[in-house]
Point group: C2
């Protein structure tokens, strides 16, 4: 080990949660996180998890009033990432169907786990926030 700095908090350095070749690497986790992190992608995946939907129907089902523009942007990104398949029927009026790809469906399991965790820990998080806020404003 290199000397030269205090060893006060030399950490366990146990099993890393994300293992990369280089420490400064992100292993592409950010790619997925960016998609999960934007405001609407998760909801699109969630809605499409149960079946094929047209644009307008998808828009109606997503909680929180997603704008036409943002739904377009979001499904395009998901399509580009290979998570969503877009099928255009050249009818009048136009009809476009969206569905998850196989990879998209595999993400569903993660979203489900995320959802379960969120719901399960919601009270604890709320309590922690209340406690923290109370401590900050005596």
């Amino acid at each position: 080990m290199s000397a030269g700095h205090t060893a006060v908090t030399t950490p366990a350095a146990a099993d890393p949660v994300i293992s990369c070749e280089t420490p400064q690497d992100e292993c592409g986790v950010r790619d997925v996180l960016d998609r999960l992190g934007d405001k609407w992608s998760v909801y699109v995946v969630v809605e499409l998890a149960s079946g094929v939907l047209r644009f307008k129907e998808l828009q109606r089902r997503i909680p929180g009033d997603i704008s036409q523009r943002m739904l377009t942007v979001t499904v395009r990104r998901l399509e580009r990432d290979g998570l969503v398949k877009r099928t255009v029927y050249p009818t009048i009026p136009p009809q476009v169907e969206y569905e998850l790809t196989e990879m998209g469906h595999s993400l569903t399991h993660l979203v489900k786990a995320l959802s379960d965790w969120s719901i399960g820990h919601r009270p604890a998080i709320a309590a922690a926030r209340a406690s923290y806020d109370a401590a900050q404003r005596p």
Copy 2:
């Protein structure tokens, strides 16, 4: 079923990934997603997963050069949510240790799953993007 609109894409409406009381509800999933979605929280959780770390050491380990300000903001949010415990030793110079709470550690499993999925599907996502981009620019 209500008549009045085409039943072209009546979806399966199978098992919902996220089940809420009201369709417009989010079940607090967004609370967690907001934390997972910001630029640094996941990396803080990842680094703290392997042990206790001081501020500066945490900053050094996080990939991508997090600024002092953003690290402070991030750990404060995590602390408020009850995911991180902050311990201050009133020494000179000051010494502050960060560690995951039990709840924080439980999140680690999710992050691990996320990481695994990301790494596993990284090539597929890259291929999908390349394919999509190629199709857009003939």
